[in-house]
């Protein structure tokens, strides 16, 4: 089965490679304006949103200029103000017949925009046109001017729905890449913050930005990121989720090997730890690598809060993670295998709750969990206003009525409910948990605690084999990095976190501008106290 898929995949890859050849076979920009126009018409046939504005200038208007852009994605006002107006105002005075001097003047003094590039290949010009810039062609020149007049239009920066925090910034990323870059730059005002833009996707030409702090991020990881991004061979990048699947170390695992976030402050924190971010135009989700298991139970709020409280919350999250994975399985193992473990009084309660239930506990648990997953999925997919109705149906019908009808025991309903609540506590692992829970459940029904243990050990083994961009997934626990335990389950206060996570192998490990300076500051503070 997999073989077939692999074949198809290879075929498809070949096709895309051919497409790429086509794209670069537009050839150079022809010198004649007529030819340019013809090429553009050919390339953009049936593209009614293409605007070609022709301006004549030079002596007797012999030299023609074409301003080409796509309607709607350029900033109209900017285009008029920076390009059209100056040209119209200035050109009548130009009497030169030499197209190259006109070109020079255009690029040097007439067009006011600060974002001017020169292109020689037709496909480059086309690329810029489709990504929202205006391109100026001049008769007799085999090059063109690109003026950046992309429209910044899009959603306003607002609080992300998926990750809410009590404290901390409410700004979330938007779909627009430049805005996102600004949002990061605003937080880290430093030339060391590097943002390298590349384009991915043969057809979609999506802008991708690799973002890291030079001097903090490990060069090797940065190189690796670029390499893996470069290897992506597809025609469409619509979301970071697609990139994520391409660049993950292990493509078959259920666990997230690439982090994503919608929150600017969180991302800034990750960058400052020495991680690399990948921003993709059109998605508010920004990827961070390497992503370790421990990050799933860290939250941005932790760093803004008292360390004791944060540590407690982290332990709670770990507990929730374990509970949501194991609780149904443990329950099933307990009631079908390990009766000796149950104290007498609890036994009576358990047995009483199961009296008259027609299904064995395993099937009962399976049904209830599937019912819950259905409810959850329905809640995500359907239009929001109906949500209310759904939750009523879920609560009353599935909870209340199934117990009353004797289909499920009330204890099972409680257990599934706790499981559900706990699974929401650790959002990054929801999907992994969802599937692994069934594995545990089946193992419990097969061999009780022993089965669960085998399954747990197998999952652990799997986690141990995982790596994210070369970093062991379970770090800092395994391999044990005593240094990094300060920001794991138990968190030390932020002022005691002098070093960054060592496992990421940054170039500079000490927080603070320079390690020595930091120490001086500390000394100063101590002396003030004294």
């Amino acid at each position: 089965m997999f073989g077939r898929i692999r074949e198809r995949y290879r075929e498809a890859k070949h096709k895309f490679a051919n497409v790429r050849v086509d794209a670069s076979s537009y050839g150079p920009i022809p010198g004649k304006i007529k030819a340019v126009q013809a090429r553009l018409d050919e390339i953009f046939s049936q593209c009614n949103d293409l605007v070609i504005k022709e301006i004549s200038c030079g002596k007797d208007g012999r030299i023609k200029i074409l301003v080409v852009h796509i309607e709607g994605i350029v900033d109209r006002r900017l285009l008029n103000q920076d390009v059209i107006h100056p040209i119209l105002d200035y050109l009548p005075s130009v009497q030169s017949e030499d197209s190259s001097s006109i070109y020079q003047q255009l690029s040097k003094c007439i067009v006011i925009s600060s974002d001017i590039k020169e292109v020689h290949e037709m496909w480059q010009a086309v690329n810029f046109i489709v990504s929202g810039d205006a391109v100026i062609f001049i008769d007799g020149e085999d090059r063109a001017l690109v003026v950046g007049v992309k429209s910044p239009e899009g959603r306003q920066v607002e609080e992300p729905d998926t990750e809410t925090s009590i404290r901390g910034s409410r700004e979330g990323f938007v779909e627009n890449l430049p805005t996102n870059m600004v949002l990061i730059r605003k937080r880290i005002k430093n030339p060391d913050l590097k943002m390298e833009i590349m384009q991915l996707g043969e057809r979609t030409k999506t802008d991708i930005c690799i973002c890291y702090i030079k001097g903090l991020a490990n060069e090797e990881i940065v190189r690796e990121v670029k390499e893996r991004l470069g290897k992506i061979n597809t025609d469409a990048i619509l979301d970071t989720g697609i990139i994520e699947q391409y660049i993950a170390d292990n493509r078959l695992t259920l666990f997230p090997l690439v982090g994503n976030s919608e929150k600017c402050d969180k991302l800034a924190g990750k960058l400052l730890e020495g991680r690399v971010a990948i921003i993709c135009d059109g998605t508010p989700y920004v990827l961070t690598v390497p992503y370790l298991f421990i990050e799933s139970i860290q939250a941005t709020d932790d760093y803004f809060d008292h360390a004791f409280f944060a540590s407690f919350m982290r332990l709670l999250r770990l507990l929730a993670l374990l509970t949501s994975n194991l609780l149904p399985a443990l329950y099933v193992a307990l009631v079908v295998f390990h009766h000796t473990v149950i104290p007498f009084k609890l036994m009576i309660t358990l047995a009483a709750s199961q009296q008259g239930i027609p299904f064995p506990p395993f099937i009962e648990a399976l049904l209830m969990i599937i019912a819950f997953e259905l409810l959850r999925e329905a809640g995500v997919r359907m239009p929001r206003p109906i949500g209310q109705a759904l939750s009523i149906v879920g609560a009353i019908v599935l909870g209340e009525a199934s117990v009353a009808a004797g289909i499920a025991s009330n204890l099972m309903v409680i257990i599934v409910a706790i499981t559900a609540v706990c699974s929401f506590v650790v959002p990054p692992l929801i999907r992994a948990t969802m599937l692994i829970r069934f594995v545990f459940l089946a193992a419990a029904n097969f061999l009780g605690f022993l089965g669960i243990m085998v399954a747990v050990v197998a999952v652990f083994t799997h986690l141990c084999t995982l790596r994210s961009f070369g970093i062991p997934y379970l770090a800092p626990f395994s391999p044990l990095t005593a240094h990094d335990l300060k920001d794991s389950l138990i968190m030390v206060p932020i002022w005691a976190m002098i070093t960054r996570p060592k496992i990421l192998r940054q170039q500079e490990n000490v927080r603070g501008v320079k390690g020595s300076k930091r120490q001086e500051v500390d000394k100063g503070r101590d002396s003030q106290k004294g």
């Binding site: 295998f337 007498f344 036994m347 009483a352 709750s353 009808a405 004797g406």
Partner: protein, 391 residues
């Protein structure tokens, strides 16, 4: 790359093979609704020498009718049912019972194990082996020996106090154990003492006091695995003092015009043996007890230290008497060393023990004893002098 994909394919195959197995849930998979929760067990020897096993099974549906308006087979009025069966061996009798009851019996939850007097007299060594060997038996079951009643009768009583009689019986054992008139004996205690030459096993005693009530007081004394006789509640307490097992209790002490009651709050007892010329010469029992004045209505003034010292002495004497009674009975009547003097000898005089080991019953019953009790009165309660003595 290809290796990885191959792996995936194999994993899929294995999963497909295993999954039906997982879903089926075979062998030991047994939901709670398919077992009978045993609350109490009884063992007795029948006239024709067979073993009669009685089990008391709890009916969770009747005890907690919480679940399911769907209702399973109507209202079950009785919270427990009792079934019994005969067999040559315990195991056979238990398994044979499946012909009578609807579901498999689950023994681990048993609260009490009642051993009939007749069976106890003939020896409990053989029957205990099953309980030692079976993996589903809890080692922490309370064992009691029935006196003047069969286990069957006792398990069939209908108590008003708890819906499950076995729980009621266990409750009484716990109460009396806290008062020091019965020794709470767990199955594991019996196992430990059964094979030990330096100490004979004991177990609590249970009698039927009315149709609805039982009384757990006193102690069954074994000798070589056979019931040798009974200790009354006071002797039991004396034994517990010496055995360092006393959790509390009320000791009456004669005072001026009647009796005063002291509540034992802490007690520490130890036994040892004096050895002379490589031979045991004297049994020694030392007890340190702390008590509070619980009732002193018949006494005189209590506000002088002398009185208190006098009372302490009397209390010590009283406790000493109880211990002496117990020891004497064990020596003279039963020739059974339930105190564990033999263990002491074994531990500290192994050579001497080697010589006396095989004749320990006789040697023990002839040894003189030295019992010393040091009683202390810690507190006198909310009043100092009793009514009419305050002046």
């Amino acid at each position: 790359m290809t290796v990885k994909k191959d792996k995936g394919r194999k994993a899929l195959l294995i999963l497909l093979l295993i999954f039906p197995l997982l879903l089926a849930g075979c062998w030991n998979n047994r939901p709670l609704t398919e077992i009978n929760i045993v609350a109490g067990m009884g063992l007795e020897r029948t006239e024709d020498g067979k073993i009669l096993v009685t089990v008391q099974v709890a009916e969770p549906g009747a005890i907690q009718p919480a679940s399911a308006g769907g209702g399973s087979g109507g209202e079950k009025s009785k919270p427990v049912f009792v079934a019994s069966n005969e067999g040559e061996t315990v195991f056979e009798a238990l398994r044979g019972m499946l012909a009578v009851v609807d579901k498999k019996l689950f023994l681990s939850t048993a609260q009490v194990l009642i051993i009939g007097e007749k069976l106890a007299q003939e020896g409990i060594g053989e029957i205990l082996d099953f309980f030692e060997r079976d993996h589903e038996v809890s080692y922490l079951v309370d064992v009691i020996v029935a006196k003047d009643a069969t286990p069957d009768e006792l398990l069939r009583i209908e108590s008003d106090m708890d819906t499950i009689p076995a729980v009621y019986i266990r409750g009484t054992v716990e109460n009396t154990a806290a008062r020091g008139t019965v020794k709470k004996t767990l199955l594991i205690d019996l196992f430990k003492d059964m094979d030990c030459k330096g100490r004979q096993p004991t177990a609590g005693q249970i009698t039927k006091s009315s149709d609805k009530e039982v009384r757990t007081e006193g102690l069954a004394v074994f000798r070589d695995g056979k019931l040798a006789g009974w200790l009354n509640p006071y002797e039991t307490r004396g034994f517990l003092f010496a055995d360092n097992e006393l959790k509390g209790g009320i000791v009456n002490v004669p005072v001026d015009n009647g009796k005063a009651a002291f509540e034992i709050i802490r007690s520490k007892g130890s036994v040892s043996v004096e050895v002379e010329d490589g031979k045991p010469s004297m049994l020694i029992i030392r007890v340190n007890a702390e008590a509070n004045v619980g009732e002193y209505g018949s006494g005189g003034r209590l506000d002088s230290l002398e009185t208190l010292y006098m009372l302490e002495e009397k209390l010590g004497e009283e406790i000493g008497k109880e211990i002496e009674m117990a020891l004497e009975k064990c020596q003279k009547e039963f020739a059974s060393d339930i105190f564990g003097f033999g263990i002491y000898l074994h531990k500290y005089y192994p050579k001497c023990w080697k010589e006396v080991e095989n004749d320990w019953h006789n040697i023990f019953s002839k040894l003189p004893a030295d019992i010393r009790v040091d009683a202390k009165i810690m507190r006198v309660g909310l009043v100092i002098n009793p009514v009419g003595k305050g002046e």
